[in-house]
Amino acid sequence: MAEFLANYLPAWLAYMVAGAIHVGLIINLVAVGALVFIWLERKISGRIQDRLGPTRVGGKFGWLQTLADGLKLLTKEDLVPGGADKMLFRIAPYVSFCASIAAFLAIPFAGGDYPFIVQHVNTGVFFVLAVLGLEVFGVILAGYASASKWSLFGAMREAAQVVSYEVPLGLCAVVPVMLAGSLDLVVIGDVQQGWFTNWLIFHDPATFLIFWVYFTCATASVNRAPFDLAEAESELVAGFHTEYSGLRWSFFFMAEYGSMFSVSLLASILFLGGWNGPLPITEWLGLTAANGDIAWYIGQVLGVINVIGKAVAGVCVMMWIRWTLPRLRIDQVMATCLKYCTPLAAAFFLGAVAWQWSLPGRTFFGLLESPAELQSVSEGWSDATAAATDEDEPEASEDQTVSSEPSRKVAAAKLTGAAALQIASTNLQGGK
């Protein structure tokens, strides 16, 4: 965008304007997303509980209800308890909120050569997971600075829980990374293009199962029921945000919904094909870069709708779970993480490795041939010696990728991977 603006504006201003637009879009995405999700949560909980939910504000579906709530929260007094550490107490909600927003910086909404992404970080998966882990810091500060015992309990639970759940969450995220051969979210999304059979969730039984482990851990790491121990209202009054009121309190909620959205986005990119629909409709309609800017742009927007739709579905499932299940106890939450999620994630990870090793180049539970994008990665798996002897391997894979109109970046990433694997195989030989 900066390059585009530079045509009309001085370079320094172009950078600033482009940055401001990006940041503004992201903040709006989180804030408006939170508004929509709060409304959605009320509607969904209402329907689940056999009632209507909001109906009055803003017409038919009460769609302005959250805005009315927001206005109410704005006018509420901003209370700080007398015994609190005032600076930390005031700053804590912003820490959470910033961390929640920052995760969106590296999440692409559409792929291709010019992906829709704020900052193309080539270790996107890792960055998003790292930044999501920061949200807990705000919660802990809030709980500690509130000078309330209930808040302190909430903060202690949050710290213990989130730090533990990052382990299986990371393990689950490694599987798509391994299959796509890149930490770049754009690449991971792009390798799943084509039919839904190429989605990594359907790649093999292990990835299918590990998706559910991922979803469980994601629910736990964003503190949603049945893992919402930090705010467990029946035990801890309201946990870490017991002492908060007004706008600061709402920041925690925006952060929570923002995190829910970002882990769901991550799930949809890692496992559910990202911006690629279940059927290659954009290709059928010719909405690709080859057919001009407008067609490409429409294709990208369709991709954005796709990825957001999948993420919203994920968020809805989280809500559905919340209004159905009772809450676990803290020791059971930790046991779920350490006794079930982590070993399961590790086992499925090994399963995925074994599957890929034994059935390279196959997808959809081994029933179909992999698309070309996945081939180049899986070659490394197939036969190390063969790869080593084949001197033209990099070019060959490039030919393949060119033939099926992939993005240059994918090819570049693959090349590095292929080269590395080639060296690896030579090393193995040398060792022998």
Binding site: D85, T123, F126, L141, V163, E166, A413
Partner: protein, 201 residues
Amino acid sequence: MGDGIYWPTFFFLLFSALACGFALAVVFSRNVVRMAFYLVMSLASTAGLFFLAGEDFVGAMQLMIYVGGTLVLLIFGVMLTSQKQFVEMKTPAGQWIVGLVTGCALVALLWMAAFETPQWQPISRAEAEAVAVQPTATPIGVALTNGRVDQLDQPDETLRGGMSSYLLPFEIVSVHLLVVLIGAAYLARAKRRSPSAAAPG
């Protein structure tokens, strides 16, 4: 407008100022949790510097390990064990002096190291923009498992084989960390008098 502002330099200065400022705040703060908070900000600014240098992986690593892990655990420990709500720390004069001497020595060392590095001159803008951003995780992963990427152009096959990987040192470090963790947990276990055994005896 000409060249205008060179943004990477601007951000470099911004992040380094933040990192240094918060580092000083850590030193002069007395409240342990505030200290942790300042430390988080300082480390996050350092992570910003890494991102600026194109080392995304190291930056994210910094965030995940130091900010998300170490400091959270630190505050967790303070919350669990503190005698009163907000723990204050006072540094005696002797420790100030020791700290000052150590700190100065470290600064001097870094200073020397920095100025002995030959590339420590600003490169031209054209040069800077010409540097292609490389994937940062792949070489690390490759180096860990099977080969040193920095030695790819080593012509001698046998030499290349010898420098196979960092996997063994990595494993040794991991096991070492595990041992430290278990040791810490063991030391943290408090000893208490058992009421049942004390009553008859």
